[in-house]
Symmetry: C2
Subunit: 313 residues, 2 copies
């Protein structure tokens, strides 16, 4: 039987990465990318999002991608949804988990989904009710992101109280998991300890993950701080695929292979094989059309004599 | 009167950066670079090294660079020296501090300075004696790096006991400061807590700094871990100038402006003005000939509503 990893990594390049670049990956390429990362040991992949294809043509084939990904033994398949409609489609597609996104910043929530924060929380409640009303979906985990928790490009700083109030309401409605997100790469380690420590405490036994962007270079420093306050789930993107449309060359999500290297070097088992992960990276990058890739481990390789925690006895 | 910063940053791009690239900066360009970083508030700059010009032509003008740098009010001017001869030249040049380098790894010490570790420690003792014998140099601080403390490209893992024994001997001889160095970018945050925590405890009131390379992307995560165990001195390089000759495009030292941003965002005063630092970066990069630059902050800029700790009341 497969051992539970010390730290749970969710690959989001197939969603957050692809939605941020111009290139549209063929369905077969997405499927192969997912299969390779699953083979490398990545426990969960957010394979796409259920949004109107007009808004995100890159995600138009998410239903087919889910159908293929769910045939992979042992892989936890999740998809992002912005609303009840998306959640219905996601559950019908057969995902193991849906990841809703709530923006804590009023301005960002309005700009992103044209809803106030309280309306967006109510929509999450409707998703939970929908699942409750459909026994065939009772096994589907319903998680929520807590986005712009570290600040917002429109309104600037976000109050910790606003983050905690939103988290509390999502938990009260029945969220199975929260992912506190530094949507625009504003976070720093001190903030991570403060915000993630408080949400983790609030959530008790409900798992709390962190979603970091490396926009200002602090992504892995934020991971270190999050680990310190007990966070054991992280989102990341293979080769840091994504980036920020406003900052050419800037990083998007933290880099999956660098994250795995860091955790394994620190003695934390991720269950991921770095060599196979680099093979997945190599495959993925053949489908890019000039989009920049990121990541230091892929260039530098392991330290001499390095033994990953997952490989140690 | 100028306030003591919470965290002391030593710019080493003028030494570690320049010695790793092909381009030779004219003396005037080095002087202007140093003047601009000093104006931005960087408290210490390692302006060069006193090594045979045949080995490092980039450092041939270090004496002249020191002469100009020491005219800058308030700047602490240091230089690297590999041996007593270099220390004599450095002291004669008028530096405020010399930074000796001891490799903890026998193989690296032999490869780098053709001395065993114990011979290299004895050489440090001779530098301390030389200063003692020359009252005109009594004001010069004599620091030592503790290099390859996180592992060695030749012999792999380095034992913590070896690091501590070397640190203990350097302190017993009279080192005014230690800089524990991850010479080849092998370190991870768990190691940082272990190694830097132990050396810091051993050193008591003698300041201990950290010198990180970002070769595997963990540089700032290592800073976060070092801060946790009380380290308040860091080496860094403007625009991450340097890199590793064996990994094209790979980062060298951690990036000064990203480090300053992280610390200031965490509420720690560095005394450095980020805008002026970016101006220094811009000036420096005009002298490069295709060498890659690094750093996320220079691309992304500050978060909306960001107030640096040094600018807060």
């Amino acid at each position: 039987m497969k051992q539970q990893p010390d730290v749970w990594i969710r690959e989001v390049g197939t969603r957050d990465g692809l939605q941020s670049i111009a290139t549209i990956f063929p369905t077969a390429a997405k499927a192969e990318w997912i299969a390779r990362e699953a083979r490398a040991g990545i426990p969960e992949i957010e394979v796409g999002s259920f949004v109107p294809p007009k808004l995100l043509p890159q995600m138009a084939d998410t239903k087919e991608v889910v159908a293929q990904a769910t045939t992979i033994e042992g892989l936890h398949v999740s998809a992002l949804v912005p609303n009840l409609r998306g959640a219905e489609n996601a559950m019908a597609s057969g995902v193991d988990q849906i990841n809703y996104v709530l923006s804590v910043s009023e301005a960002h929530s309005q700009a992103n989904v044209r809803r106030s924060v309280s309306e967006a929380i109510a929509e999450f409640g409707r998703i939970i009710e929908f699942r409750a009303a459909h026994p065939e979906y009772h096994h589907v985990r319903v998680a929520s992101g807590v986005a712009t928790a570290f600040g917002c490009t429109i309104s600037g700083p976000v109050a910790l109280d606003d983050v905690l109030r939103a988290a509390e309401q999502l938990l009260a409605l029945g969220a199975d998991e929260l992912a506190v997100a530094d949507t625009v790469g504003y976070g720093n380690p001190a903030q991570c300890r403060r915000i993630l420590g408080a949400v983790h405490k609030l959530a008790g036994d409900i798992p709390v993950g962190a979603h970091f962007h490396d926009t200002r270079g602090l992504g892995l420093a934020n991971v270190d701080a999050a680990l310190e306050v007990g966070i054991r789930r992280f989102d990341s993107s293979l080769a840091g695929l994504g980036g920020c449309p406003y900052a050419p060359g800037a990083s998007g999500n933290i880099v999956t292979e660098d994250l795995v290297f860091m955790l394994e070097a620190m003695g934390m088992r991720t269950g991921v094989d770095l060599d196979q992960l680099l093979e997945a990276r190599e495959f993925m990058t053949t489908h890019l059309n000039g989009e920049p890739t990121h990541g230091a481990y892929a260039q530098a390789g392991p330290p001499k004599g390095f033994i990953a925690a997952s490989q140690a006895a």
